[in-house]
């Protein structure tokens, strides 16, 4: 118990803060912060698996999160029959062409010796393949995008419950991570960072501009939910009764029947959105807990020990007969898959997929700040980082406003400086993140909850 005192203390402070938001702002805000904290926690766990366990630096988190989101669209949206009729066949042929291209390249790589001719041959295969694919896909892509472009204009998905996309999103991200890992993992740390960052930008560019896949920047909205809709809840008998029962104390004070009904309606409306958010929290908590159990088990298993050995001294681990390249690839895939799950969860919660919103600041660097601040190598630390940083990210604006008003209290309301500062309040969150990261890196380089390995 004593050993874990700091963990318990840190988490109770964090929960206390969220509860304070609930009391002073509203429970709606508090729960939406809590849900986003949970999603961020899943992302940080993914990054922590890569960075904390194995020392791999992955600045491509954005790309994996976006692929998870794409999975949510491809799983949950109903298939657009018309689009499949006009262009589906050609698209499937193109997929087969890509597969054939990959196998041809593998065949060439296996059966010919390394030479200049082979390199040129492979380049020729790739160029020819791209040309053929463009010729076959071009007209059908146009046809698909022409199908009712205001609402569909894409192939649609499978029409399954969106929950499945969490798993599929993980697999999508794992697939991408396999390719990226094969390509880039041999690079030195900071090159790996740059390469993964740029590859994730390529992924985003493709998702943004291939409209037949997921409508691109036209966004997909109104995804199916795994939880009830507020509108339906507000007319459901048991829910209204529940709200009335929970608030019976308050309601009894109102004597007028009409007023009572109005107050109850208001409570039902508020209660329904809180209830929906609670449902999401429950779902996300299950994911976080499952992942936490798995990652904790992995950390203290022989495999986790091996990963730490590889992280701390690659050459020594190699000399002990551990396959460093293979393990790096494995952990890169695992970590990315977790980020993919988080990406799918995020889109599930928002109910919409907006490729334009994937920016490295928000989906790569912020997550990294979370990992570093929380404590890399320690799962509890990483989750705490996700909570603390996201909380600060949301609450930075009110805090900054408070501080500005405090420091410019002597100035009149119409003073230019004051107006300017108040207008630029949203950007103070970047300042706080940056200062936080710099201070933590300087004075507590291992994070709030540092890595602690118990030798049993």
């Amino acid at each position: 118990m004593r050993k874990h005192l700091n963990v318990i203390a840190a988490y109770s402070i964090m929960l206390g803060l969220i509860i304070l938001v609930g009391i002073f702002q509203s429970w709606n805000v508090a729960l939406s912060i809590f849900n986003m904290c949970l999603i961020s926690a899943v992302m940080t766990m993914g990054a922590n698996v890569q960075w904390g366990y194995a020392g791999l630096i992955n600045f491509g988190l954005m790309g994996y999160a976006a692929l998870g989101g794409l999975a949510a669209v491809l799983i949950s949206v109903d298939p657009v029959q018309e689009a499949w009729a006009v262009g589906g066949f050609n698209i499937i042929i193109c997929l087969w062409l890509i597969v054939a291209m990959i196998f041809t390249i593998r065949f060439v790589l296996k059966n010919f010796k390394k030479s200049k001719i082979r390199t040129y041959g492979i380049a020729a295969i790739i160029i020819a393949g791209i040309v053929i694919i463009r010729i076959t896909s071009g007209p059908s892509i146009e046809a698909i995008e022409a199908v009712n472009p205001a609402t569909t204009g894409f192939l649609g998905g499978l029409g399954l419950p969106i929950i499945f996309s969490w798993i599929v999103g993980g697999f999508f991200a794992a697939g991408l991570a396999f390719i990226v890992g094969k390509v880039a993992l041999g690079l030195r740390a900071d090159y790996l960072a740059i390469a993964t960052l740029l590859i994730s930008e390529i992924v985003i560019a493709i998702i943004k501009h291939e409209d037949w896949l997921a409508r691109g920047v036209k966004n997909v909205i109104g995804l199916n939910r795994p939880v009830p809709y507020e509108v339906n809840l507000q007319t459901t008998e048991w829910f209204i009764n529940l709200v009335a029962k929970l608030n019976s104390g308050k309601l009894n004070f109102i004597s007028n029947v009409n007023d009572k009904q109005a107050a109850l309606n208001q409570m039902v409306i508020e209660g329904s959105s809180v209830f929906v958010k609670l449902c999401y929290s429950g779902l996300f908590l299950v994911v976080v807990i499952i992942l936490l159990i798995i990652t904790q088990k992995a950390l203290y298993s022989p495999w986790g020990r091996m990963m730490r050995a590889i992280r701390d001294n690659e050459e020594a681990a190699n000399a002990m007969g551990k396959n460093v390249v293979k393990q790096h690839l494995l952990i890169f895939i695992l970590g990315s898959a977790i980020v993919g799950i988080a990406g799918a969860m995020l889109v599930t919660q928002d109910g919409l997929f907006t490729p334009g919103s994937y920016r490295p600041m928000r989906y790569t660097f912020l997550i990294w700040v979370m990992v570093i601040v929380g404590g890399s190598g320690n799962n509890f630390g990483a989750i705490l980082g996700g909570f603390a940083v996201w909380f600060l990210w949301i609450e930075a604006a009110p805090i900054a406003l408070l501080l500005i008003n405090l420091f410019t209290a002597g100035l009149p309301e119409t003073h230019e400086l004051k107006i300017h500062l108040v207008e630029s309040v949203p950007y103070f969150r970047y300042l706080m993140m940056g200062m936080g990261l710099l201070l933590i890196m300087r004075y507590r380089p291992k994070g709030i909850l540092p890595e602690k390995i118990e030798i049993k």
Partner: protein, 336 residues
Amino acid sequence: MDFLNAIILLLNYIFVPALTYGSQLALGAIFVTLIYGILRFANFATGDMMAFGTMVTILITWYFQSLGISLGVLPTALLAIPFAIIFMIGYMLFIDQFVFRYYRVNKSPPVQLAMVSIGVMFVTQAVVRIIIGPSDRRFFDGEKFIIKAGEFKEMTGLNEGLAIKSSQVLTIFVTLLLVSILFWFLNKTKTGKSMRAYSDNEDLALLSGIDPKRVVMITWIIAGILATIGGALYGLDKSFKPFTYFNNMLPIFAAAIVGGIGNPFGAFLGGYVIAFSEILLTYAYKKFFMYILPESMEPETLVQLLSTDYKFAVSFSILVIVLLYRPNGIFKGKVL
């Protein structure tokens, strides 16, 4: 005649814009490569430092404009740049003193320094947005065009016009001047040589009596100059928007690595490699072929290899290919 038209077309839409864009990237890439070569970390704050330098330039330009000072046909910003550089050098040295020095003295691994630079990136970005706001700003004044498309058509009697903006000529001219001075400095002066020695082999350089503090200081001073001028030129040619500057960090990194990171000359050429390939691969060649091919063979499609949406993706793909096949870059930089 058709042939001439085709050439003018390419000059107008590919060569001049690519040369300008390449120059802007080249300055940034040299900045990245110098920091990497001498301080040994990947500086993720590059784009935002350039934005900061540009912001200072804009503020001073506004001040001059309010005083009524101008350079006539040339943009007032040129007058503001020297002052901005002085400010920027101060900023760079301040950051180094309070942030980077600690990790350098402790001999932290490069990854940690890169992480710290992300902290600097956040802070710089915040400061820029708080001071000047996130919106688009144009601060170009003076004569806009050297040759207008219409005038050119009249002058030569061709169908295709060639428009050259004065900001483009200015960018190319200033870049070439600055880069030549920089290479002269690195190759001919004693300080420059000591910097190269320090970059090649730190221990040997220390043994031969090179003062590391001085080398680091001069690196930051050059970085300040490059960041301000590179950023201001980009802002003059296009416009100033903090978010664009942050995004430009990516092609700049690509240029530095393609050219061979740690090698300033490679970075310089890398900028042009990236710029030309981005524009060459995303240009629609239909009109070009209409001029040079007989009518019967005219293409029906746009003859565009990739849609312009993939402009950035092109440079990143080049980078990935280079990393795979020539990890040292085309012009051999530091060994990875």
